[in-house]
Structures are given as structure tokens and as C-alpha cells.
Symmetry: C2
Subunit: 403 residues, 2 copies
């Protein structure tokens, strides 16, 4: 008998009909002879409704009390789902995170899971009950309720799968898997059967929104077999694994990100440590820097160019200008109208033809590359924002239409 963890997001449990649908998926898995551990998010709009209630009373409520309030959302979901399974005559029990013992740090609204007690859940599984656990939440050392922040329910599911050595952790969403690129841009985008943890991580951080980075990192660390699958259609999803088919030579996908801005510090003095000073300053203001490029400028100066999130642009310019004398640069050039397109694939950089193929596609489409940045399994290019979708199409066609 193998244990399967199934996680359903807010839209999958948004009303009575969807909850019955979810109960049907769970029942099927259970009746096939598996132990089933279910993790649920709050119903569709519940969290937003609760936030609205809080803001009417106190727009600056403490995070501790917000967690106390919001954690009721998942508790409602698990109780309702248990009732749906009861109506099908299936043995089941709902448990809140504090009942399980999902121990977390005390950082309210953004806690990290420290440890999961297995005793209570195991006792219920031993009685052949389907166990339904609140996602997104934990309990800290003082017994206070915490929430896990963005991607929290996925993280709960993967952490439970790791703690119970589940044979599979299924993440049910309203898409049916991970695609080679955004199907809204490229109509013949293909669903991937398999993807490696690293590829999924790069795709997630390069703009694909199927799984949150945290849950993929955790899955990689504990070698949890992940599967992204649709709660609305019964068809195979995408498996996220340590190693995928050896014969695979193609890239996993094409991702885009248009939320970035480019900043260039022009005419920096050639003294050592200036790059450190620039990025130390930005990090002290919580400004995340992505692609960095340093080039030799005119005469004895150099230029440093980097990308940041659009929302941080104004603050970055202010901070840098304030320290203009210490940093000794000539001026700042900023550009909000850029975008990043990336290809991701295991072993990509050890196969030099792959990057060249990407550049060829862009050349053929007449698209100018501003900057290039690479990792072991990713190549990203910076482009004019208006070229982004055209670039995605061209690159996707190059890699997937010709194979």
C-alpha cells in the first residue's frame, strides 16, 4: 500500500460542486488501495473576504492576529471536504496544522516549516482513514498559529510528502501541467510529461507560475516525486523528478518575464570594490538584483548594468543618486521597457549548440539582444519589452516545431 499526498488549491475547492469534484478524485485514489493524505487551501475568495473584514477594523493589524484570522479559511475547507467524503461513505478525518503538529518558525505571515509530527496522522492512516490537513499554516513554539506565505499550501504538501515518505505528491491546479511555454502566447505550446527539479526551479523563477520555488526546492532536497495535474480534467500531468529520460535532448521550456527594469551606472571609476559597494547598498534596501553585466566604458571608466523588479526602480535610482559622490559614477540610465526571455533545460550549457540555436531564432526574427545571462541549465536574454512575445514564439518554434 503506497501513500499519495494530494494538494488542491483555492479554485479547486471554491464551492460545494468543486469540493464534491475534489472528493471524487480523492475517493478514486483511496479506492484504488492507496493511503491518501490531502492538503487544502482556503476556498476561492475566503482569504480575500477575511482580509477585507480585517481592513475594515484595522488596516495595520498585527501579523499574529492576521494569521489567527486567515487560518480559519483552510479549516473551513478541510471540514467541508471531510463532510463530502463522509457523504460518500468513506472514512476520513480533517486536521488543522496544530493538530497534526506542523511546527514552524514564529515569523507570522511568512513562517518556515521546522518539523512535522507524524504520530497523529499515522494513527489515522493506520485506521484506513483519509486524512485532510490544512495547508498554508503551522504552529510555532508558543502554540501560536502561523501562515507560510506565498506558495504555502504547495510547501505544506511537499513537506508532508517528505515526512511520510509518500510515493507521490500530486499538486492539483486549474492547469493540467507544466508547458514548454505560456499557451496564451504560443498556441502549440506542449505539455511536458516530465521535468527535473532544477528545470522546474529555473522555469518558476523565470516567470512560470505553476509551482512556487519553495515547494520545488523542498521536493528536490527530500527527493519527493512531484506531479502537477489538473483537478478539472482527468488526464496525465507533468512529473517533476530528480532525473528525467536520458535520451531527452531538447530544452524543457521557454519562459518570459516582463516585470523587470534595467539600470546602468555609466562612467564608474576603475577602483576595486565598487561593484560590491553598489550591490551591498541595494541589498540593504531590500532591492533584489537579477542579471548583472559589467563592461569597460570610455577611457578609464567602466559601466555596471543590472536588472531589478520594476517596482523597485524609483527607490534604486534614489538610493544610488544619494551615494553618487561615494560611488563616483557619471550618470544613471534606466529602462523600464525591457523583458527577459529564457530557455531552460538540464545539461543545456554543456551542449553549446543549444544557446546558438536560441540566438539564431532571435536573429531570424530580427530581434535585438541587449544582454545575455546564463546558468548551468538556463540561457536568458534581455530584449525590448515589445519584442518579448515575438521572441518566445520564435524560440519555441525553433526548438519544438523542428524536432
Amino acid at each position: 500500500m503506497s501513500l499519495i499526498v494530494q494538494k488542491f488549491g483555492g479554485s479547486s475547492v471554491k464551492d460545494a460542486q468543486r469540493i464534491r469534484n475534489v472528493a471524487g478524485i480523492i475517493a478514486e485514489t483511496y479506492l484504488e488501495g492507496n493511503d491518501v493524505l490531502v492538503v487544502l487551501s482556503a476556498q476561492g475568495d475566503t482569504t480575500d473576504d477575511l482580509i477585507a473584514k480585517a481592513e475594515e477594523i484595522n488596516p495595520h493589524a498585527s501579523k499574529r492576529e492576521m494569521d489567527m484570522l486567515l487560518s480559519t479559511g483552510e479549516q473551513i475547507s478541510v471540514a467541508l471536504c471531510a463532510m463530502a467524503l463522509e457523504s460518500m461513505g468513506l472514512p476520513c478525518i480533517s486536521l488543522a496544522a496544530w493538530q497534526v503538529g506542523i511546527h514552524s518558525t514564529s515569523v507570522h505571515s511568512d513562517a518556515r516549516i521546522r518539523k512535522i509530527d507524524t504520530e497523529r496522522i499515522q494513527a489515522e492512516l493506520d485506521q484506513h482513514r483519509i486524512v485532510i490537513v490544512t495547508g498554508f499554516q503551522g504552529v510555532d513554539r508558543s502554540g501560536d498559529v502561523t501562515t507560510l506565505g506565498r506558495g504555502g499550501s504547495d510547501t505544506s504538501a511537499v513537506a508532508l510528502a517528505a515526512a511520510f515518505r509518500a510515493s507521490l505528491c500530486q499538486i492539483y491546479t486549474d492547469v493540467d501541467g507544466v508547458y514548454t511555454t505560456d499557451p496564451r502566447i504560443v498556441s502549440n505550446a506542449r505539455k511536458l510529461e516530465e521535468i527535473t527539479y532544477d528545470e522546474m526551479l529555473e522555469l518558476a523563477s523565470q516567470g512560470a507560475q505553476v509551482l512556487h520555488n519553495r515547494s520545488v526546492e523542498l521536493a528536490k532536497k527530500f527527493r519527493v516525486n512531484l506531479e502537477v495535474v489538473s483537478s478539472l480534467e482527468r488526464k496525465p500531468g507533468t512529473k517533476v523528478k530528480e532525473v528525467t529520460k536520458v535520451e531527452k535532448t531538447n530544452i524543457a521550456g521557454v519562459a518570459k518575464d516582463t516585470s523587470i527594469a534595467r539600470v546602468a551606472l555609466v562612467g564608474l571609476q576603475h577602483n576595486p570594490g565598487v561593484a560590491f559597494q553598489v550591490f551591498d547598498l541595494l541589498s540593504k534596501h531590500n532591492i533584489n538584483v537579477d542579471v548583472i553585466l559589467q563592461s569597460i566604458g570610455r577611457e578609464d571608466t567602466k559601466d555596471i548594468t543590472f536588472t531589478i523588479h520594476k517596482k523597485d526602480l524609483e527607490e534604486a535610482e534614489d538610493v544610488l543618486n544619494e551615494h553618487k559622490d561615494a560611488l563616483r559614477f557619471d550618470h544613471i540610465e534606466a529602462d523600464e521597457h525591457i523583458g527577459k526571455v529564457s530557455i531552460v533545460g538540464a545539461g543545456l550549457m554543456s551542449n553549446c549548440g543549444v544557446a546558438a540555436k536560441m540566438f539564431e531564432a532571435l536573429y531570424e526574427a530580427g530581434i535585438n539582444i541587449q544582454m545575455i545571462n546564463t546558468s548551468e541549465i538556463r540561457v536568458s536574454v534581455l530584449l525590448d519589452e515589445e519584442d518579448v512575445n515575438r521572441a518566445v514564439k520564435a524560440i519555441h518554434a525553433k526548438f519544438f516545431d523542428e524536432t
Copy 2:
């Protein structure tokens, strides 16, 4: 520094404005230098909304999962109330029953409080925080959430007041105290300044709906100073105590109950044990019997008359008719159109003039008495249902207008 427990019901916290009002009352008590322990019910319609959600999915959901679902209601209330107090700059913390350690029996939907841990709350009070606790709920030995059934939040408040030896337990409602009778029937009904536990118990069980019996019994047992007070108007309420003013000679109030039916078993054989057989049979079917009267019938038979709740009438008749041969009665006479009017007052029966005064009032009003039943501090009469309100007015006038 004294500790005051304040309990607010669902209508007192039904929206943001009411919650702010409640926070104002709490703040005032706290700023007068008291420790404050607050107990809240779920907001106005929350419980009904949650029940509707459950019924859409499973009209026969287990009580265990209903408790899991419904207990979110009070958790929402306490978090929102804490946020309101935070916005006033007051130190506070909300706690669910499981965080406090309000240990209960495992009878879901109707649990009894077994024990209250004082450690967590005391630690918060020691830091001069206002502590806001979910009423109506507990946690059982296995760590499952329970709810306490009717009057549950009042019971939570009184139990906490007992555990912490609070100097006062205030029950805030939308009426401003306990009245000599229902102000909707008698416009000059008077608010009582004080009432004894026993009087309150008799009034509550005779139809007055201000406090639930359970909480009054608990208050009596642990000598908790109770006060019923309005959350909407700032004026003195009614104090419930062990002993009230010694000089008090009048009754505490007049109560009515029209939810009862009268059943008479006519022509029972005169054999011993027949009364036991009848009431044993009814109790086995969970039918509560109130007033019982046994009279000598024609020839060698007797009649047994008793009252039960209207809703139980049909089942009682069926059960008794099924056992007609064993019980050996002639026939059943049932009457749904009756009502009960009671006067309640400490020391009432040791003052024989009091009962006579009640009968005099009914005689003057031309109202026929069907049955009479008395306790140490109560006299109840059974009347035609249509005479009930007139009887209440006449008796109230006799006792309160003439004094």
C-alpha cells in the same frame, strides 16, 4: 488589581461597528486598571452561514466535522476584536480554546468543560495583555475540537471566571438585564438590580431566555459573581449572586412557557410501580417530563397527568399507546393548547401569602387554573394557552404595581 471576565454574544460582535463598540467597553474596563479576560461568540450570522455551507455538501455531516467547521466562527471574532484593540494601541492577544487549554469531554456538539489550564492566559495577563478567548468551544483528550452546545459561550465565560477566581463575570447581551417579566407582554416590567442564582435558574428554566441554565448552575457552584448587562447602553445591569438584599420580600419575576403540551393517562389500574413504568418508558425515548400530577380517578383507577415539550407529543402518544396493554390505562387525553405561568422568588414557599396572592390575581382576572406545581422558590400554574399573557399581566400587576 482585579480580574474581570466579559462575554459578548453574536449580535454584539456582528459587524465592524459593533466590534469597535465592544473594544470600547473592554478598553474602558482595562484602562480603569483591571485585568480583562474577554470571551466572544461567533459573529451574528456566521454560524448559520457555515451550517448552510455544510448542508449543501452533506446534510448528515458528522458532529466531529461540524465542530471543526463551526469553531472557525469564534476564531474569526477573537482575531477581529484583537485587531480593534490593537488599533486603539492596547496590548492584547486572541486565543482559541485549544491554545488556552479549555479541556472538554468528547461529546461533539454538546461537550462539557472538564478542566481549564491557566498557564497560557496567566502568562499573557502577567504581561498586562487583554486576553480574548473563543467561547462555545473546547478541545478533547485526542486534541479534537468540540463545541459546548446551547448556552456554550456563557458557560465558557463562567468557567474561565471560576478558573481565574475573577472578581466579576459580565455577560453582555442586547437586553440590559433580567426583568420581572417579559417587557414585550408587560410594558412596565422592571429590571431587577439583583437576583439569586436559584431564582435565575428557575426563571431560566421557566422560559426567561437571558442566561442559559448551565452557566448559572456553574456560577452557583463556584460562586462566580455574574452580571447581565447591555452592550449597547451604558447602564447598570442585573447582578446574579448567592444572596441578595435581606429585606427583599417581593418575588423576583413572572415567567411564561407556551411550548408545552399536557398528556393525561386516564383510568390507570391501581397497581404499584405504574408511575415508574410510565416515566421510565418516556425517559428511554429522551422525552423530558416537567409537571407531574397524580389524582384518584373513578372507582378503582387513577389518572396521571404530566407536561412535555410540544415537539415530543406525537412520539409520547405513540410510545404510550404501544405499551397500553402493559401499562393498563383506559385512554390518553392530550392538550397542546396550554401554557405555564410561574412566579419565582427566594423564600417564596415559606411565605404562604405569596402563592395565595398569585391565585387571587388569577381569580380576579377570571382565569381558570388547570394544574399547580411548586418548588421551594417557584409556583407554576397550567392554564389555557390563550389566557397566558393575560395571566402574566395580572400577576405582575398584583406583585409589582401594588408595592
